[in-house]
């Protein structure tokens, strides 16, 4: 692949690895030094982004399947949740450690917040908070149904938890009942606006819901072909990019939007489906993973997307950029794990 066409140039060090198991999630640590991919066979692969000749370190994270991955509070580590009921911390060059265990349950959702120095994980209907030392810092938070997802607000003061019938907003610094954002249906994913002004959820019934928190004004985004399983903010939070349709559907959050605005539709292929989206953190481009394994980089100005991975039949299941936008990691259900270094100064 050379990047003579389009604006995004790929480095010749691009690597494809066969992880031989479902890539559940991939993330780059806060320091930008390592990527972690967690797999359906319980392994976590740690990739050194500073040394393209190093083989990935394979860590046994869970007995069973890994279900969740988050960047830990510090720059190096990651937290993983598994169907063995364990919350574990893995970090390059360190032994994996178990931070919590819930017998007979799955740990399905994990998030961490450097601002509040808290970690949160869910098991069934309960969310547990842990501080940096690994101590439970509060009684478990109860919800009306199994937790669909959870996320700390960017400032760390609140924790949003999606569940059946809406979302709950907890204060992380003080006890007390949550405030509820109600909307009918099963809410499966949750994402904060980077300014903390809006909360978005994905729904079982193919669509999104959102609330502007200042006045709890509702947003409904529908018309998707299937369940939306991935969403992310483009640079400077101009668009909310989403999967679940033939093209990347991008809802404008400027000029009074998204109300009464038409979304952008990018990187579509007829008859295909976008499974995962990952907007670049600094540039107006979006990495779009398709259900046939194709991976496109689509500029939000509507110019032609660039294909960086060819279809191989297995859906893209995980995508992540490093914070500096210099590395893109991608995984598929069949276990293809790809690393695309992006050179500086384009």
């Amino acid at each position: 692949m050379n990047g003579s066409e389009g604006g995004t140039r790929l480095h010749p060090l691009e690597r494809h690895m066969d992880a031989a198991a479902y890539v559940v999630s991939v993330k780059v640590n806060r320091a930008g030094s390592h990527a972690a991919a967690v797999l359906g066979d319980g392994a976590a692969w740690l990739i050194d982004l500073t040394d393209s000749s190093a083989a990935p370190a394979v860590v046994h994270a869970h007995d069973g399947a890994c279900l969740a991955l988050a960047r830990d509070i510090d720059g190096n580590g990651f937290l993983t949740g598994g169907d063995d009921g364990k919350l574990r911390r893995i970090a390059p060059g360190q032994a994996a450690e178990t931070l919590a265990e819930v017998k007979g349950r799955w740990i399905e959702h994990v998030d961490c917040c450097p601002r509040s120095r808290l970690r949160a994980y869910s098991a069934g209907r309960q969310v547990h908070l842990l501080d940096l030392s690994g101590h439970g810092s509060a009684p478990a938070l109860d919800h009306p149904s199994t937790v669909g997802s959870l996320a700390f607000a960017p400032n760390g003061k609140r924790l949003a938890v999606a569940h059946y019938g809406g979302a709950s907003l907890w204060w992380t610094g003080r006890p007390g009942p949550p405030s509820r954002l109600d909307w009918k249906g099963s809410h499966l994913g949750v994402l904060w606006h980077p300014d903390g002004t809006h909360l978005m959820t994905t729904l079982q019934e193919s669509g999104l819901h959102g609330w502007r928190l200042r006045d709890k004004a509702d947003m409904q985004m529908s018309g998707y072909a299937t369940k939306v399983r991935s969403m992310g903010w483009t640079n400077r939070s101009r668009y909310l990019a989403t999967g679940g349709a033939e093209s990347v559907v991008c809802w404008p959050f400027f000029g009074g939007g998204p109300w009464q605005k038409q979304p952008l539709q990018l990187a579509g292929t007829a008859g295909g489906l976008i499974t995962v989206v990952a907007p670049h953190p600094k540039e107006p481009v979006i990495a779009a993973g398709h259900d046939d394994g194709r991976l496109l980089i689509a500029p939000t100005d509507g110019t032609a997307p660039v294909a960086i991975a060819a279809p191989d039949g297995s859906p893209i299941s995980a995508l992540a950029w490093s914070d500096d936008g210099r590395h893109l990691l991608a995984g598929t259900e069949a276990g293809r794990l790809s690393w695309f270094p992006i050179p500086a100064g384009r």
Partner: protein, 319 residues
């Protein structure tokens, strides 16, 4: 990737579901099952693929009033499917008080689940000593019989032959599709409960429901079945209109239905089957030469008006 078969085990409290589950898991079949249970600790077999379920029944926000699904199953199956080649089938044990409909509907409604799995069959374990009483006083016990593809009439060693015959007759009047197997301690060959393909359209062709006369419904029970039959070819548009209206209006009451239909102008057998408002249909093989092209449509449900259904079906005959 082939779809993973899913077997649902239902039955009233104490009927012997866990006995059947342990039997399936301990047979030397060389298959690996993921098991979704409602209570941990009852399974005597060492199996790391046992998952506890929360029985979370959700209404789908899709305008279909009877369309409830099990949210926990969507979540659990999504998680299980991330494991690589880990199992050959999924067994779901429901609680004794569960209505099987949300479980079955989950496999038709959720796009991820329906793409990767297929409903293989619903197996109901019934305690022969207590079934009559349960059918009199329990809505759920009626649903479990109505939804079943196979019914294990269990603990027959504790009931005399005459009693069993009465029970079988009563079951047959509620559910003419199901195979009834008499068992002690759920002793049954594995292929009687696994690998049924009971929701495959081509298996509907093998339907041999026990046809019953009106006077066979001697019990005053709310779940009944109605068997419709027609030797003249049907008009496809008229049938479509009648059937769509029926499932819209009476979908809540219709528990299961199966039909093999002969339409005017077609040499192929049209097969339809469904659960509540979720119907599936297809045009299958050509009618065998020399045999009558008899349409048959069997419905299981509550508050079924046999006379109105017969009249509606007869009105679909092509002019």
């Amino acid at each position: 990737m082939s779809a993973i078969p899913v077997t649902v085990l239902t039955g009233y409290l104490g009927a012997g579901k866990t006995t059947l589950l342990n039997r399936i898991l301990s047979e030397p079949h060389g298959k690996r099952f993921a098991v979704i249970v409602n209570e941990f600790g009852e399974i005597g077999i060492d199996n790391d693929l046992v998952v506890g379920a929360d029985q979370e029944v959700f209404e789908m926000n899709n305008g279909c009033i009877c369309c409830t699904v099990r949210g926990d199953l969507i979540r659990i199956i999504g998680g299980l499917l991330k494991r690589k080649d880990a199992f050959d089938g999924i067994l779901i044990e429901t609680t004794g008080l569960a209505d099987p409909a949300p479980v079955a509907q989950t496999f038709f409604v959720d796009p991820d689940v329906s793409k990767r799995t297929r409903m293989d069959g619903i197996v109901t374990v019934a305690d022969a000593r207590h079934l009559a009483q349960r059918l009199d006083d329990s809505h759920e016990a009626q649903e479990q019989i109505a939804f079943a593809d196979v019914i294990l009439l269990n603990k027959i060693d504790l009931v005399d032959e005459a009693g069993i015959v009465v029970l079988e007759h009563r079951i047959r009047s509620m559910n003419p599709f199901a195979r009834i197997r008499r068992t002690e301690r759920c002793s049954v060959a594995l292929d009687e409960v696994i690998g049924l393909g009971a929701f495959d359209l081509d298996r509907v062709l093998a339907m041999e429901p026990g046809f019953l006369g009106e006077d066979d419904h001697e019990h005053d029970q709310s779940v009944t079945s109605v068997s419709l039959q027609e030797d003249r070819a049907l008009d496809p548009a008229a049938f479509d209109q009648w059937f769509r209206t029926l499932i819209q209006v009476q979908g809540v009451d219709l528990l299961r239905y199966k039909g093999i239909l002969s339409f005017k102008g077609s040499d192929r057998r049209t097969v339809v089957q469904g659960v509540h408002m979720l119907a599936d249909s297809g045009n299958l093989s050509v009618w065998p030469a020399g045999l009558p092209r008899t349409s048959r449509f069997v419905l299981i449900g509550r508050n079924l008006d046999g006379g109105a259904l017969r009249a509606g079906f007869a009105a679909c005959v092509a002019p």
